[in-house]
Every structure is written in structure tokens, then in C-alpha cells.
């Protein structure tokens, strides 16, 4: 039974532009290079995320996938969620409401812990449009 691999949780900075993204990538580089890395990025502080930040996330996930690991996102701020949706990258990650849920999910599937999609539906959108 395999239980000993650590889950690394990293909190992303408030502003993730090119410079910050590079700095953050340097910080997490050792974890990305580990064998079957298990990473969680906490995006609760993120207020600004630009294309360089998205690129960095994609680079991280590709590195992790190469080593048969996984990268999950947690506690997305509305701003971060908006940018990920805008760039169509939200579907590439497992997203959890809290870092704890994300960390726990490595040891078992937690269907209820996945980030709840707001029960939004444009009230004025007719059914045929919402279909």
C-alpha cells in the first residue's frame, strides 16, 4: 500500500505576472522534478493572473504529468477563476474548495469536495438558450 508520498501545498502570490510567475516557478521547480510529485496550488490570494501565470500553470502541470504525478488547484479567488475560464484552462485542473480537500483527494476520490460551480443560471435566459 502506498501512502508515504508527500503532498506539497504552495500558495500563489497576489499578482502573478511574468516576473512573479518565473519566481514562483523557480520555487516549485524542485517539487516538479520529484518522482510522481503531488502538488496543490492555493490561489486564494491571487488578484491578478495574466497569460504568463496561466502559461506557468500549464508548464507545471505538463512537468508533473511527465513524472506521473498530479497538480491540483484549490481555493480559487474569483479573479483567478475568471482568468482560467477566459483562457479555457479551468478544465485542465482538478479544482477544490480548500487546500485540505485537494490534499486529501490524492488518497481517494472526493466527489463532494470538488469546487462547486455556482448554481448560476441567467434568470432571464429562456430555456431554449440555456439548453
Amino acid at each position: 500500500m502506498e501512502i508515504s508520498r508527500p503532498v506539497v501545498v504552495k500558495r500563489m502570490p497576489e499578482k502573478v505576472n511574468q516576473r512573479e510567475a518565473r519566481k514562483f516557478l523557480q520555487d516549485v521547480q524542485p517539487f516538479l522534478k520529484a518522482d510522481r510529485p503531488q502538488l496543490v496550488f492555493d490561489l486564494s490570494l491571487v488578484k491578478q493572473l495574466d497569460a504568463a501565470g496561466v502559461e506557468m500553470l500549464l508548464h507545471c502541470v505538463s512537468e508533473v504529468m511527465k513524472r506521473d504525478g498530479d497538480l491540483k488547484l484549490a481555493s480559487l479567488s474569483p479573479q483567478a477563476a475568471m482568468v482560467l475560464e477566459l483562457t479555457r484552462t479551468d478544465r485542465l485542473f482538478e479544482i477544490y474548495q480548500t487546500s485540505t480537500d485537494a490534499a486529501r483527494s490524492f488518497s481517494g476520490f472526493l466527489p463532494n469536495a470538488m469546487r462547486q460551480v455556482p448554481a448560476y443560471r441567467d434568470a432571464s435566459t429562456p430555456d431554449r438558450l440555456a439548453a
Binding site: N17, Q18, A21, R22, L25, Q26, Q29, Q48, D50, A51, A52, G53, V54, E55, M56, L58, H59, V61, S62, M65, K66, P78, Q79, A81, M82, V83, E85, L86, T87, R88, T89, R91, L92, P118, Y120, D122, A123, S124, T125, P126, L129
Partner: protein, 393 residues
């Protein structure tokens, strides 16, 4: 009967008339511009309200507008209604009082006072009849969800009007029965309301008509708009004048794109509004949002985001000369940019192959999401995005 109207626009609902301070963080605004000043389906909302009053037979309409901060989004309003008076925000109520006096002296028997504010389609004839039947000094209009800032004032009751204006429309001297309207009302308090108004108008729930030609049922395209032949327009939607929709884009579910916008290749605009001069980068997915002045308001998340990255979202110059210069500059630098991009691409590919160094982020290629994945390509971030797009094939 001599009926005239005063419209107060751009005054925040919670401004304090005693201190004379108009609070800057006002609701009913997007990017510092009052929602009623923004264009909707080709024409500013304020202009639509004045047009509606004129159609109802009111020829004399005084528009007093609190002067907001300078924004390119206000150009439409300046051009569409050059006669309206700009008043400093702290003097608006005083100016309204003076205007009321002027109208009464000019012979007005009834004055309709509207704070825009809400967009309300109130039938004037029943309202005036109600006011006369009740023998009220002031009659306020009530919508299904409460009172709105829409009043009928008797010209002979100057004190009542002054009291009302000095209390920024929150108090009347005498309690009167309100007139209940069954017409369409949108309070226009948040950008989400603006989105709802655009959708309702496209669904013909309001009397607002998009300015343009209905090329297919529910698809409106204004003059000068350039829509690539590979673009899919799903009704209802509106494309404003001089907007450019590039190949592979999808405009759907009640989206409204105002004038001089650019939607780049492969982007999806779903149930969203693009305010004038907005640029939406290639391969993006804008859903349930209002985009303008490099800001995105998400109806879904009820949050606003300022985007600094011009590859995602930016604002185009507001004059045609600057836009032409911009295009010329892009054209001149196109070839050098392609050379640099290809050199960087080759270097990155080598780095990825040897897997030795940490690559520098910052050249996110949104177009990559539309490219098919090939086995030969290294597993770069662009490829991951491609896998997402074509993962089920």
C-alpha cells in the same frame, strides 16, 4: 397641457446632498462610467430614454448630467446628445431645482422628473391621468419590486419639488399614493443588470430596437461591421458598427458587441457584452461577462477583474487616426515579430527536449488551443491546451 421633463443622469443613488459629495465608489457604474451612459445595442441608454419621452409627446427635455471622469466610453454619449448640460456632481441637485424653476416659469404645468438610474418603460398617459385624478402634488412610480426614481410634479408646487430635490429624491413633504406600472423596469445597478437589459432587448421583452440590420431572425449586424465568413453567429446576438469578428469566432446566446470591438480568431463570446473599443484576444472564452476598458465583470462570479495583459484583453484607441496608426504599426512589425517568435519557439523546443533548464513563462499562445495535437510535438503547455480541446477525438 404643457408637460416637460428633467432627467438627472450619472448621480449616484447614495450621494449626500447636504455635504455635496458624490461618492466615487458609486453603484450603477462600470469602470467609473454610469451604466446609463453606456451604449446598448448601438445607442446609449440615456439617449434611448430621451427618445422614448419624445415619442410620448414631450418635446422639452432637460438633461442634467453629472460630469464623470474622462473615459473613451463616454464619447458616444457626447456625440449622441450634445445639448445636455454637464454639471459638477456636487451641484446637480441645486441645478435641478433651478431647472425646475425655469421650466415652470416657461409655462410647464407638469414636470416629469427622472433619475437615470433605472431603465423604466412607463406609459405616460395613464401616469398623468392618475396624477390628475389623485390631485397629488407629487406622484412617484412604483415597479413590481419597489419604488423607482420616476416622478410627476405639479408645476404650481415649487416647495414640494424643492423639498424632494434637496432630499435627493428620498423624501416627499406629503405621502402620496404611488402609480403602479406594469411596464418593463431594469434597475441598472450592476453590470449584471446591463447584461440582463441587453438580453431582454434582444429577446424583444423591451421596446429597445438594436441599431442595425436584422440579417437573419435575431441576428443584428450594424453598418461597417466586418464578420469573417467562418464566424458563427447564433441568434439572438448583435454586432455593432465597425466591429471586427475574426475567423473561427462564435458569438452566441444573447451576446452584444458594441462598436469598434475586435473579437480575435477562435474566441467564444457567450451571453456577454463587449463595450465599445474592446479587444478580446484569440482563443478565449468569454461567458456571462461584461468586457470594457480592460475590465471584465463576471456575472457568474459577481466579481470584476482588471486585465493588464494585452494579449488577453485590451482597449483599442478611440480615434480613427490612432486606430489606423495602430494597425500600421502592427503591420510593419508583423514580419520581425514572426521571426522572433519562431526563434524563441525553436529555442524552447530544444530546451524542452534536453529538459535541463526552467523556461521563462510569458509567451502564452492562446491560438494553441485550436491546433490539433501531433505525436511529434513535445508535451509543452500549448499541447496540453490542445489536448483539452481535442481530448475526446
Amino acid at each position: 397641457m404643457d408637460i416637460r421633463a428633467i432627467l438627472l443622469a450619472g448621480v449616484p443613488i447614495d450621494s449626500d446632498p447636504t455635504s455635496g459629495e458624490a461618492r466615487s465608489a458609486a453603484p450603477e457604474a462600470f469602470s467609473g462610467v454610469p451604466l446609463s451612459f453606456l451604449p446598448l445595442l448601438g445607442c446609449p441608454i440615456l439617449r434611448r430614454i430621451t427618445d422614448r419621452l419624445r415619442k410620448s409627446g414631450i418635446d422639452s427635455i432637460s438633461v442634467l448630467r453629472a460630469a464623470p471622469s474622462i473615459s473613451p466610453l463616454l464619447e458616444d454619449l457626447r456625440l449622441s446628445d450634445p445639448d445636455c448640460k454637464e454639471v459638477p456632481g456636487d451641484q446637480l441637485w441645486r441645478a435641478a431645482e433651478e431647472e425646475f424653476e425655469n421650466l415652470v416659469q416657461a409655462g410647464a404645468e407638469l414636470v416629469i422628473l427622472i433619475r437615470v438610474g433605472a431603465y423604466a418603460e412607463v406609459e405616460l398617459d395613464p401616469l398623468i391621468q392618475f396624477h390628475l385624478d389623485q390631485r397629488s402634488h407629487i406622484t412617484q412610480v412604483m415597479a413590481a419590486d419597489g419604488l423607482i426614481d420616476f416622478f410627476v410634479l405639479s408645476g404650481s408646487r415649487r416647495n414640494d419639488a424643492a423639498f424632494l430635490l434637496r432630499h435627493s429624491l428620498r423624501k416627499t413633504r406629503v405621502q402620496t399614493r404611488p402609480f403602479e406600472t406594469l411596464g418593463y423596469v431594469n434597475r441598472l445597478q450592476t453590470p449584471a443588470d446591463l447584461r440582463a437589459l441587453a438580453l431582454d432587448s434582444l429577446m424583444k421583452k423591451t421596446s429597445i430596437q438594436p441599431l442595425g440590420t436584422e440579417i437573419r431572425p435575431g441576428v443584428w449586424v450594424a453598418g461597417g461591421a466586418r464578420v469573417n465568413r467562418d464566424v458563427r453567429l447564433v441568434a439572438p446576438c448583435y454586432i455593432g458598427p465597425s466591429s471586427k469578428i475574426r475567423a473561427g469566432a462564435l458569438i452566441t446566446r444573447g451576446s452584444s458587441i458594441e462598436h469598434h470591438c475586435v473579437v480575435d480568431c477562435g474566441s467564444v463570446v457567450e451571453a456577454s457584452t463587449l463595450l465599445p473599443l474592446s479587444y478580446l484576444g484569440a482563443g478565449l472564452d468569454l461567458t456571462h461577462s461584461v468586457l470594457g476598458s480592460r475590465r471584465v465583470f463576471s456575472v457568474k462570479h459577481n466579481a470584476q477583474l482588471e486585465v493588464e495583459d494585452a494579449t488577453l484583453v485590451s482597449m483599442l484607441p478611440n480615434t480613427s487616426a490612432l486606430r489606423t496608426l495602430n494597425h500600421a504599426a502592427n503591420l510593419i512589425t508583423f514580419v520581425p515579430r514572426q521571426i522572433v517568435r519562431s526563434l524563441i519557439g525553436e529555442r524552447r523546443q530544444r530546451e524542452s527536449q534536453v529538459d535541463s533548464k526552467c523556461p521563462s513563462p510569458g509567451s502564452f499562445d492562446p491560438g494553441a488551443v485550436t491546433r490539433p495535437v501531433t505525436q511529434e510535438r513535445a508535451l509543452s503547455s500549448g499541447v496540453v491546451a490542445g489536448m483539452r480541446e481535442y481530448g475526446n477525438q
